[in-house]
């Protein structure tokens, strides 16, 4: 009997549940898809680095999934509370008929269970198929070939999804039972009639609150722009807290005084359905401003994650080709307190240590960087051009600039097949491949261009910097290096040695690296039996593999988190509007009876839903313009940034998903209203 009632309720209110059901299904689907990445790699040919990346990716996703499940849990609990509220009258009728609260709870639990099982099943099914598509995408991101396509199914991810969502549903059931046990019959029967009234009655208070909120937001923006995102300090925290308070106050005061401002302008207030629309929004004002603020912040996170995540991932791979001109680069740094010998020739030392360089290397060349008496401060004529990431380092101006002898620099360029540089005896040039630093140096070269190196006056050979890369590394990190005639480096202190090498055709890098590791093994180095002529090395292949791994991770995380936040906030809005639609249906029906045209009624409905959907979005966009600007400062450290592309990508996702939810809500409400009329 109760099962029948529950089943009938579900099928009857299917329209209310559609959005909820679809969102749940989508959530489950995403959850399974991303958690099953581990198993999808069975059909890929992966190197050690790549499988490490995948392992890291799936681990990170596992952690993030806990957070994601909390968010989805919130959505589900919230949605259920909403659906219960919406059915107050129905539950009230059960109670007047003498049904006990326990039994009502059981009906509601059964309904939740039915919906849960159904959406879990469908979500998993869709997820299993969608995961196949994801694995093709993963293979493409890692630039590996698929051995042969095979259908993969991750039992682990399957169980994990089941477990997480079962827990969520269990919590939902507890919440539902509690909220039903608290219901009062009188409230159930008269629910929905009363308007919520805002606590702030006076206009001037709302005006002041509005100004305070704008001030809060302005301060938050200012602080975050000043501070940047890299340093998490009190300034950063203050900015976030002020931002949240500002947002809350903004919606609190906005809904309060928007009504009054429009009310005072009779021409606007009495135009078309404006009065009706405003009152519609005002009637749920307390619920509205909290939910709008929360949704605004969630949308901000979505926009932020999607666009900067994508920006980060494209920046990570964009520079890779430029940053890896050689197959392998070794680096060795002399420390001030270093007692180690001055190794002048790294390659010679390796060969002395019985490393078969001639077998592996086609060509190699060494670059020595010397410490000069010139500091960064000498090269900065216009401090305002400094990128924020650098100007925030207070000591930077005292750092010594390195100098590189011309012949070694030219050798390094020759190996890349690039044109070489010629300098006169009293000339110097500057190499800098760190894009943000280039304008600073260019300004120095064109305005002043004179230096004094150890008592010798030099003038710059050119008005602009050289943007070459003379070692293989992860990022373009050569902030400034002076290129000077060889004779001038005599007597300078050696700072760093770099050995660049290209392999012979057909050389297996693995073999070479293996040999290095055998000779310079950890124990031998620790016991100082042997001396390693390098502190680090980067190889082109590894950098490629790592960067694709990182790129995949960043973009997957961005999509995963971004999508879940997006569907959650859109679903909350849609549910709010749809569940109100039944109350609204009577009102809109009455408008019809009073002779309002169909188009007028539809327009009012459209405006109402549009305000709910796009007010939080607008503020979120303003927030994210600031946020993304700040984030881009960080991302651009890594290299080029495609702001337009990421914005278009984010906008497209929003248009499809958020717009889709909006339209679904509009048409759903419209059909409910039409149904009610007939």
């Amino acid at each position: 009997m109760f099962f029948k009632l529950a089943l009938k309720n579900v099928t009857k209110s299917i329209k209310d549940y559609t959005v909820y059901f679809l969102t749940m299904t989508f959530g489950v689907c995403l959850f399974y898809m991303f958690n099953s990445i581990d198993s999808q790699t069975t059909m890929m040919q992966l190197s050690a680095v790549q499988s490490d990346s995948i392992k890291m990716l799936s681990q990170t996703i596992a952690y993030v999934s806990v957070f994601i499940s909390v968010i989805l849990g919130f959505l589900i609990v919230y949605a259920n509370q909403f659906l219960i509220k919406r059915r107050k009258k129905e539950l009230g009728i059960y109670m007047t008929l003498g049904m006990e609260k326990g039994k009502i709870s059981r009906i509601v639990i059964l309904e939740t269970f039915l919906i849960g099982v159904f959406s879990l099943a469908v979500g998993l099914l869709v997820g299993i198929f969608a995961a196949q598509g994801l694995s093709v995408l993963t293979a493409k991101m890692f630039e590996v070939n698929l051995k042969a396509f095979q259908f993969t199914f991750s039992l682990q991810a399957f169980y994990k999804t089941l477990l997480y969502f079962s827990i969520i549903f269990l919590i939902v059931m507890i919440f539902n039972t509690v909220s039903i046990s608290k219901l009062k019959l009188i409230d159930l029967l008269t629910a929905g009639k009363k308007n919520e009234s805002l606590k702030i009655k006076r206009l001037w208070i709302s005006v002041i609150l509005f100004l305070v909120s704008v001030a809060c937001l302005g301060t938050a923006y200012y602080l975050i722009i000043q501070n940047g995102m890299l340093m998490i300090n009190s300034q950063f925290t203050t900015s976030i807290i002020l931002g949240c308070i500002g947002t809350l106050l903004f919606f609190l005061s906005l809904s309060g005084f928007l009504l009054r401002v429009v009310q005072s302008n009779k021409r606007l207030y009495f135009k078309n359905m404006n009065m009706f629309i405003l009152r519609q929004i005002n009637s749920k004002i307390n619920t509205t401003f909290v939910s709008m603020s929360v949704i605004c912040i969630m949308l901000l996170i979505t926009i932020g994650t999607l666009s900067t995540g994508m920006g980060l991932s494209s920046a990570l791979t964009k520079g890779v080709k430029d940053n890896t001109p050689y197959d392998i680069s070794f680096g060795y740094v002399y420390h001030e307190d270093d007692t180690r010998k001055q190794i002048k020739d790294l390659a010679q030392k390796m060969m002395d240590d019985k490393i078969d360089l001639n077998r592996y290397a086609k060509e190699y060349t060494q670059v020595t960087a010397y410490t000069s008496n010139i500091t960064f401060g000498d090269l900065i004529t216009d401090a305002s051009l400094l990128p924020q990431s650098i100007s925030s380092m207070s000591e930077i101006k005292k750092y010594a600039v390195t100098a590189i002898p011309l012949s070694e620099y030219n050798n390094a360029l020759k190996m890349q097949g690039q044109p070489t540089l010629t300098l006169k005896e009293n000339e110097f040039s500057v190499n800098c491949n760190f894009a943000q630093m280039q304008p600073v140096i260019n300004s120095f070269l064109s305005n002043n261009g004179k230096l004094n190196l150890n008592g010798k006056a030099l003038v710059s050979a050119e008005k602009t910097v050289q943007g070459s890369t003379y070692q293989t590394s992860m990022t373009a990190q050569d902030t400034v290096a002076l290129i000077v005639p060889d004779a001038l480096t005599k007597g300078l202190v050696r700072d760093q040695e770099i050995l660049n090498m290209n392999y012979k055709v057909g050389v297996n890098e693995q073999e070479f690296v293996q040999q290095l590791q055998t000779v310079y093994n950890k124990e031998a180095i620790n016991s100082e039996q042997i001396f390693r002529p390098y502190d680090w090395y980067y190889t082109k292949i590894k950098i490629y593999e790592q960067s694709t791994g990182l790129k995949t991770m960043v973009s997957y995380l961005a999509i995963y988190i971004g999508l879940v936040f997006l569907i959650t906030s859109a679903a909350v809005l849609a549910l709010q509007q749809l569940s109100e639609a039944s109350d609204n249906a009577e009102r809109y029906g009455l408008l019809k009876k009073l002779g309002a045209e169909e188009s007028m009624v539809n327009h009012a409905l459209f405006s109402q839903i549009a305000i709910y959907f796009f007010l939080p979005l607008s503020l979120a966009i303003i927030h994210s313009i600031v946020g993304i600007k700040v984030a881009n400062n960080v991302v651009s450290l890594l290299g080029g940034l495609d702001i337009l592309g990421n914005t278009i990508f984010t906008a497209a996702i929003f248009l499809v998903i958020y717009g889709g939810y909006f339209l679904a809500t509009y048409f759903g409400s419209k059909s409910m209203i039409r149904q009610n009329r007939n």
Binding site: K193, K194, N195, K266, R267, L268, Y269, F270, K271, N272, M273, N274, M275, F276, R279, Q280, N282, S283, R587, L590, L591, K592, K593, L594, G595, A596, E597, E598, M600
Partner: protein, 255 residues
């Protein structure tokens, strides 16, 4: 006297050939401008169906209805809603006020629907509120008002647009006798002062006794017609009771 409403040979059938119900069966009558006319009948006699046909909420199966010279049975849906908002005012049994709007706004809404210039709205709302003695509830929401106040607000909403015809469907149905009396006195006042034409459907003899003329309907047909003429309300009431008794129902409504 100008004729405002002409109902000629109206029929409304429900069901199909095998199982036909004639809710309204060939009814014809006329209403003059400034008249206060009542339609009485027992439950199921077809009076609400008739009202729905006149109010364009429902369409008649056969026959014609002219309001202010226009045949409303021939209008399309767009013209109907234009006609409805410009020529008709409605008063419902259950008030049908919007609970999100204050009394003032509920009345103003009817004006904004017909796109009245903003400057004019305030004047007209205040004028009609004064007429119906609801000035002190204008700022209240429907759930803060008594039933009688709500119905007078609904009444204000119906007449504020200056309709050719006011249609009231059991307006006192949800009111106690004191509130009913106040509402009906308001109707009389509107009828006398603003010469509003009112067509009221009721099954209550007391309510009906405020009318100038009453049509009695039984089984979808006009059964009788009663004109108040020079009678006092008490005398008219007694006459109504006689007809009602003759009709064979509603004895319980004797005061």
């Amino acid at each position: 006297m100008q004729t405002i409403l002409t109902v000629s040979n109206i029929e409304k059938y429900y069901g199909n050939k095998g199982n036909m119900t004639k809710a309204v069966d060939n009814i014809s009558f006329e209403v003059d401008k400034g008249e206060f006319i009542g339609i009485m009948g027992a439950s199921g006699s077809g009076k609400t169906t008739l009202l729905n046909c006149i109010s364009t909420i429902d369409s008649a199966t056969a026959g014609h209805i002219f309001i202010d010279g226009m045949d409303i049975t021939q209008l399309n849906s767009k013209k109907l809603s234009k006609f409805r908002r410009e020529q008709l005012g409605f008063i419902f049994q259950d008030f049908n006020l919007l609970d999100t709007l204050t009394a003032y706004e509920n009345i103003a809404l009817a004006l904004t629907i017909i796109k009245t210039p903003a400057g004019e709205i305030d004047v007209r709302v205040r004028h009609v509120a004064k007429e119906l003695e609801i000035e002190d509830v204008l700022k209240k929401y429907p759930y803060q008002m008594s039933g009688g106040q709500k119905q007078r607000v609904a009444c204000a909403r119906a007449i504020v647009t200056g309709p050719a015809l006011i249609l009231a469907d059991e307006p006192t149905g949800a009111l106690d006798s004191k509130s009913s009396r106040m509402l009906l006195e308001s109707f009389e006042k509107l009828n006398n002062n603003l010469s509003a034409t009112i067509l009221m459907v009721t099954h209550d003899a007391f309510t009906a006794s405020y009318c100038h003329r009453i049509l009695f309907i039984k089984d979808g047909k006009v059964f009788n017609e009663l004109v108040r003429g020079e009678d006092t309300r008490k005398q008219f009431f007694n006459k109504i009771i006689e007809v009602v008794t003759l009709l064979g129902g509603d004895n319980s409504n004797v005061l």
